[in-house]
């Protein structure tokens, strides 16, 4: 094994749990997630020798996973095994966070988080963020992930999931409110 290949193998070992966690979040199926990551690693391993920088390499591997996940989603839809998004979210987010006159509930009123750059450098923020993502209902988490972590436009999300764009906006609004609330409680206190 060349030095480059050895380094690549070490990177894969470190990357794997993160890839699996991400794929599971999106595919909501352990086997499908393992498959997507396995295919990603095979593809990546064949070409890894051409990379030098580590972050460049990671971005590239995650880029491959993105396409494998979208492939899996399409396959699930073709085979009819895809879990459709629940469009009629029986969800009380708005009623829970706001009073009937439209003001914030006292307990849900947002507090100050500090400077964005400092927030993002805080390890604890990311731990709470991940915990909050897991706590989100499936449909909300899937749409938020497609939009914010995979960078799809809402128009593309409609195509991939079969929901309307308006519905997509409604779901993203709830996702942001719930994540914000969860971070406020879990991170600051």
């Amino acid at each position: 094994m060349t030095l480059t290949a050895t380094l690549a193998a070490a990177h894969f070992t470190q990357l794997r749990p993160r890839l699996v966690a991400f794929a599971r979040l999106q595919l909501r199926d352990a086997t499908a997630a393992e498959d997507a990551v396995q295919e990603t690693l095979l593809t990546a391993f064949e070409k890894s020798a051409t990379f030098e920088g580590r972050s460049e390499f990671e971005t590239w591997v995650f880029g491959i996973l993105k396409y494998k996940i979208l492939d899996q989603l399409r396959q699930q839809r073709r085979q009819g095994t895809w879990q459709p998004l629940d469009q009629n979210l029986d969800d009380d987010t708005l009623d829970r966070l706001f009073q009937s006159d439209g003001h914030w509930q006292n307990a849900a009123r947002p507090s100050h988080w500090g400077e964005p750059e400092q927030v993002l450098e805080n390890q604890r923020f990311w731990q709470v963020f991940d915990a909050c993502m897991i706590a989100l209902p499936d449909s909300i988490a899937r749409v938020f992930t497609l939009r914010e972590l995979m960078g799809l436009s809402t128009a593309d999300i409609c195509k991939e999931t079969g929901i309307t764009e308006t519905n997509c906006w409604v779901i993203l609004h709830r996702a942001r409110l719930r994540l914000r609330e969860c971070l406020d409680h879990g991170w600051l206190n």
Binding site: R18, W113, E148, H173, R180
Partner: protein
């Protein structure tokens, strides 16, 4: 007049598409009088930016758009 509940809807929507002039003004006026919503809009913006900062992000840098 726009209340916090609807204001947060516009804060979220502005990350997806351009707001109408009427919506922009309504949001701006609300933010000028509501400290809680000023925190909220910054947090929504932060949650939108973290896309390519998250360790598991699959977002490519060139897909970043300015709003």
């Amino acid at each position: 007049m726009l209340m916090c509940r609807e204001a947060t809807g516009l804060m979220s929507l502005k990350l997806e598409k351009a707001l109408s002039l009427r919506e922009k003004i309504a949001l701006k006026v609300h933010l000028s009088i509501c400290p809680a919503c000023r925190h909220c809009v910054r947090q929504f913006d932060l949650l939108h930016k973290i896309g390519n900062r998250h360790p598991a992000s699959l977002r490519m840098p060139e897909r970043e758009q300015d709003d």
